[in-house]
Amino acid sequence: MNSHVINVKTRGPILFGGVTAGEGLKKALAMSRSEIISEVRASGLKGRGGAGFPTGVKWNLAAAALGQRKFVVCNADEGEPGTFKDRVLLSDYADLVFEGMTIAGLAIGARQGIVYLRGEYRYLLAPLEANLARRREEGLLGSAILGRQGFDFDVEIRLGSGAYVCGEETALIESLEGHRGEPRNRPPFPVDTGYLGQPTIVNNVETLALAASVLAKGAEWFKAIGTDKSTGSKLFSVSGDCQSPGVYEFPMGITIAQLLKVVGGEEAKAVQVGGASGHCVPAKQFERTLAFEDIPTGGSIIVFGPGRDMLKVARNFMEFFVEESCGQCTPCRYGNVALLEGVEMIEKGRCSMTHLNELKALGETMQISSKCGLGQSSSNAFLSIVTHFENEILGRPVPA
């Protein structure tokens, strides 16, 4: 593996700490399906892709759903700007991820797992395939896993082809089925009508690795880390204006100020939490915590130093969404273009307060009327930047 793929800065308590692959699966095999799901529920583990849905609840719904076949899908379409922790997990901790998938298969009664790997990470395909081959040889995948009759499970890797929206779970399923990556209406949710119309759980790479850790060490051990509502630890992908960008593991509930101190970014005037679809947090709010009850995040932290032009930042994010909107629903297809045009007017110093207020209202309309998470969150960055940095944005000199 290329050394630059891995850039781990702190080794935290769970993923980069004490858990070794193999433990979790052995313990799971000694438990009943409902015991496994109860353990995951008791741990309080919530989805690490950013949405924070309780993993045990998702598994339980899929386990209870009726279907001829069930599927475990690992969402490795890590496309959120500023996020790269799954790249590290898939490079260095792939066994833990595959083990999490296998345990999930056991828990819900699935025989097939699929990793949806973004096309941009194709260089990870060969090492991951080699890992799967080794796991089959060791009896960790295939028929009668670790000698348990009737427990068959295997994993296949499928590639994406460069579409951010495929990180949305129903778009991902559409793509797996050979369609354009256009999100579906929810409900029905994938847990009962997923891949090929069958019950499917779609979990983030980190969530699956953590689920294996929960089975290895127990729900109580996991719950002791983090906060009451956000248990366990989280991987943070840190980039931008700081001394040591990279992947960090911290307990949930760390404040932005604490994080900035570790990464060498105390000078920051703002931090983008959650990537392009997240929120821009100004320095006066750095005491807020990174947790589901305060600022939820998939772990993307982009640091903006004192010299950064926040309007340029907003422009970059809006260009991203204009490009990546799937075009299916109107608020997202047109709204992002209108916001980008708004940024261009502000750049030219030709945006009135009235017009800015109209743009804000449009952004809020997009949040409530778009079909999927992409459109519902694509105006977040624009709205938080124009709100917190109004004095920087309005009254810009008219370019000569």
Binding site: P81, G82, R87, G178, R180, D241, A276
Partner: protein
């Protein structure tokens, strides 16, 4: 396209369908393989795939045109994708981009006349901690500098030259 080329492509698509299956779910893997081997998915190829998978050719076209890494038009042997998203942008990707255009004599979105290089923008490559980042086909390059741009392009050219440099020294 001459007849034998078409026949070869038809046979190749049949072979791919044999490997990946003939249900709709096989569409992406088949298209990805065609893209990798031929640097494009021609209209003829789309029709052949559609016939084998028993879907309308427009369905295949709609998929090809949706995904950034699938192309109806011919791309170069080396597709260079420079990340333009925020963290790489803050690490001065614009300078690298200009140098790339100067080295290749083309703009973003274009292919060199010899069919060797295509230059494209990419959205977040997931190398935000080590930008500016770029992909050359499947290979990732990080912390790209002017010198690195030159070296990488030279490396691509050498790997395709008619008279490769002798092994074992200069």
């Amino acid at each position: 396209m001459i007849a034998t080329e078409q026949q070869n492509l038809t046979a190749e698509i049949a072979e791919l369908a044999g490997r990946h299956g003939r249900d709709r779910g096989a569409l992406m893997p088949i298209l990805q393989a065609l893209q990798e081997r031929h640097h494009q998915i021609s209209e003829f190829a789309m029709q052949e795939v559609a016939a084998l998978l028993d879907v309308h050719p427009v369905e295949v076209y709609s998929v090809v045109t949706f995904y950034a890494f699938l192309k109806a038009g011919k791309e170069g042997k080396f597709v260079i994708r420079l990340c333009r998203t925020i963290s790489c942008d803050m690490r001065e990707k614009d300078k690298v981009a200009r140098q790339m255009e100067n080295e290749l004599g083309i703009s973003f979105g274009q292919t060199t006349a010899d069919g060797m290089f295509t230059l494209e923008w990419a959205n977040c490559l997931g190398m935000c901690d080590q930008g500016p980042a770029m992909l050359v086909n499947d290979q990732v390059f990080t912390a790209v500098t002017f010198e690195k741009v030159h070296d990488v392009l030279e490396g691509c050219r050498r790997s395709f030259s008619v008279h490769p440099a002798p092994k074992g020294g200069h």
